[in-house]
């Protein structure tokens, strides 16, 4: 009997023995079903990758096939491939949402800090700006304000604590 006339299950037995002709026939028989299914469920560019994933899994997991109808087994392999894809997308979108939230949170905090700087006495606000935004060192600031480094650190620390409390 030629390979083309054999049933899917007979071809799977041959595929398990490493027959690449059996693989080609199975692929030609079922690729359009898999493609049609994927096209309706995932975007075009991903459908191509998943299509390849699905058939690579058929080859790699051929030893796990235990005689059930091939089409059903192929369907399960394909469904798992699609589920994995949506699971990874979900994780990806959760991560993107998290990043978005974080950036919104940071922006709102930055706005709050600016508002608080406006409320602080001018010299303290100026000191914070110089230290955090303009990158002055403790020593440079201590020289500028004519005080010891220890006093300057204390003043900065008190001001920061005050801001943290307000936030």
């Amino acid at each position: 009997m030629s390979t083309n006339q054999q049933s899917d299950e007979e071809l799977m037995h041959l595929l398990k023995l490493g027959d690449d002709l059996a693989l080609s026939v199975l692929y030609e028989r079922h690729s359009s079903k898999v493609w049609s299914y994927l096209k309706r469920r995932v975007p075009d560019s991903n459908a191509e990758d998943l299509f390849q994933d699905c058939f690579v899994k058929v080859v790699e997991k051929r030893d796990a096939w235990n005689g059930q109808p091939f089409v059903l087994w192929l369907y399960v392999v394909m469904r798992n491939t699609v589920s994995d894809y949506f699971r990874s997308k979900k994780v990806e979108s959760k991560y993107l949402n998290f990043l978005e939230d974080r950036s919104e949170e940071r922006e709102s905090k930055a706005l709050q800090v600016e508002e608080l700087l406006g409320v602080l006495p001018n010299d303290k606000a100026q000191l914070l700006r110089e230290f955090f935004s303009e990158g002055w060192s403790y020593k440079e600031l201590a020289d500028k304000y004519d005080m010891s480094e220890i006093s300057l650190r204390k003043r900065l620390s008190r001001t920061i604590k005050k801001i943290k409390k307000e936030l």
């Binding site: 595929l15 080609s24 690729s31 359009s32 079903k33 049609s36 096209k39 790699e60 369907y75 394909m78």
Partner: protein, 177 residues
């Protein structure tokens, strides 16, 4: 699930020709990957060997490229290790990828980490073992800085070259080449 399965077995849509051919080749390689792995590594070794002709450590100075290597060596150990590793691995991979079919390359791409990391590590240890046989035994090649930079550059270069070839193949596939 029942409806979903019924939909699966009753509906079909023609697979685009490019994708159909590419996937058929890919699954064939997946069935018997040993040949592809052997081809990938053998071609890489050949390419790497060819790069040794312009290597001041193992190479043949008479070919006239040593001027570049001398200049690189003057720039210090980092630049030298990055240059050496980049030429060595990019050269090897270039030869390999030129001779691989599209299906073979796709399979390599899917398994790139598990193929590249052990191979580069083995090559690294072999190069360490043969260091004393090199034509020029410059002290520059014997420090840990050189070795560590060399091996990390090898991973990075191999992954970058592989990604670039993948990008190129995707681009050509889209215009039907």
């Amino acid at each position: 699930m029942k409806d979903d399965f019924l939909e699966f077995i009753t509906e079909s849509k023609k697979v685009p020709d490019n994708l159909f051919t590419e996937t058929r080749e890919l699954v064939r390689v997946s069935l018997k990957p040993k040949y592809t792995v052997a081809k990938f590594y053998a071609l890489q070794v050949l390419g790497m060997f060819l790069t040794l002709f312009i290597c001041p450590q193992y190479g043949f100075q008479s070919v006239g490229f040593s001027g570049i290597a001398d200049w690189v060596m003057e720039k210090g150990v980092f630049v030298c290790a990055i240059y050496c590793s980049s030429i060595f691995f990019a050269g090897g991979l270039a030869v390999s990828y030129i001779f691989l079919t599209k299906g073979e390359f796709n399979w390599i791409y899917r398994n790139r980490l598990s193929l590249i990391i052990p191979f580069n590590s083995v090559v690294f240890f072999l190069m360490m073992l043969t260091k004393d046989m090199a034509l020029e035994n410059h002290a520059l090649f014997h420090g840990n800085t050189f070795n560590i930079t060399w091996i990390f550059t090898s991973f990075l270069v191999a992954l970058i070259v592989t990604e670039l070839v993948k990008l190129r193949s995707v681009k050509f596939a889209r215009v039907g080449i």
